[in-house]
Amino acid sequence: MRFLRRALVALGLASLIAGVLRLRGSGGTPPQGGGWRELQGPDLR
């Protein structure tokens, strides 16, 4: 019974951690410097 309880607690914890990791993700792109400019004129010739 105790073993089953521990297994259930472990499973619950693992699911919780997996859920948090899935929602939070990891990594990411560093901030950018610069800006967007419309393609026009010479860009489209």
């Binding site: 993700g25 990891s26 990594g27 990411g28 410097g33 610069g34 489209l44």
Partner: protein, 331 residues
């Protein structure tokens, strides 16, 4: 030229409108599973002799030079029927299986001397043209990474939902790598005013089409923007019916390559309502096919059209691309 459109939804109706505003198109017919919707699309354009509706029967595209598929049907099966009838195809398919099936028609289409343009929409579609435009500035393309935010009509929203629960395909060092959709978060910076959004791997067909168009590329990936709720509920049925259409969507296409002895990065993007842009892209692709500018075979837009005139015509119709100037990855 005569063009038939299957679907009068968010994308199909826009494609019909764009075709109607192209002087070289002599006749446009639109067919939809809901005949009232097809008729109201024609009524809104009010060119009775030139833009007409038809019921969806096996002969919905009869007499057309090019058929545009803008409905959630089996695109591969429909394209096969159209090829047998001697009609070229422009498909707005954005599902991985649909696109895979259409690309497999390449030999048959080439044999029949007909073009099948695959993924002529916002993403894939406009994203492929932007990739081709950026790629033209390099001697050799090494990497292409596409990110997308926003969806068109309900069918596109359903596809977005499915894509986050499937398996993503990435081209990595000359081999296909399967990754879990919804993984691989990256913060992508889209043109203003959309700005930054978290994007994730998804079961989308962009890498499939871009790898075929740019064989030198060793890495090709595609991501879609998603919220936490999108990711959490991706494996469930959609909890509520999809919206009719979202607001602004955005694209970001990053191409890395070699120019002379050096390496460089070009980042292009676009913002618009995805269904509006997709309709315009599909219409321009159909006109290009009808003009005979697209070689026979089945491929994506990057290998089908000349990017500069295509983007110039899109800009003339109000769908404008942008280039990122500055450091693309910060430092």
């Amino acid at each position: 030229m005569r063009i038939a459109v299957l679907g009068a939804g968010a994308v199909g109706a826009r494609a019909v409108r764009q075709l109607a505003s192209s002087p070289e198109v002599a006749a446009v017919t639109v067919a939809d599973a809901d005949p009232k919707r097809a008729a109201s699309t024609c009524d809104s354009i009010d060119e009775p002799g030139r833009v007409t509706s038809r019921p969806v029967t096996p002969a919905w595209a009869e007499g057309a030079d090019v058929a545009v598929l803008a409905a959630p049907v089996d695109h591969r099966a429909e394209a096969e029927r159209l090829l047998e009838a001697g009609i070229a195809v422009v498909s707005g398919a954005d599902g991985l299986d649909d696109v895979r099936g259409l690309v497999a028609l390449d030999a048959e289409a080439a044999e029949r001397g007909l073009a099948v343009v695959v993924g002529a929409g916002f993403c894939p579609g406009l994203s492929d043209v932007l990739a081709a435009h950026a790629a033209a500035t390099f001697d050799r393309v090494d990497e292409i990474h596409v990110s997308r935010r926003g969806t068109g009509g309900p069918a596109c929203a359903r596809q977005h939902h499915r894509a986050l629960a499937g398996e993503a395909l990435e081209w990595r060092d000359g081999a296909w790598v399967r990754r879990r959709a919804g993984s691989g978060r990256e913060l992508a910076w889209f043109p203003d005013p959309v700005g930054a959004a978290d994007c994730y791997r998804a079961a989308v067909p962009d890498a499939l089409l871009l790898t075929a168009a740019f064989p030198s590329a060793t890495r090709v990936s595609a991501r879609v923007a998603a919220t936490r709720r999108d990711r959490l509920t991706a494996h469930l049925p959609m909890l509520r019916p999809p919206h009719r259409e979202t607001g602004l969507g955005a694209l970001r296409v990053e191409v890395r390559g070699r120019r002379g002895a050096g390496r460089d990065v070009v980042v292009l993007g676009a913002i618009d309502r995805p269904a509006v842009a997709a309709g315009a892209v599909a219409a321009l692709a159909a006109v290009a096919v009808a003009r005979g500018e697209v070689a026979a075979g089945a491929r994506g837009l990057a290998g089908s059209v000349e990017p500069v005139p295509f983007l110039a015509e899109l800009a003339r119709r109000g769908i404008k691309a942008a280039a990122f100037v500055g450091s693309a990855t910060g430092g």
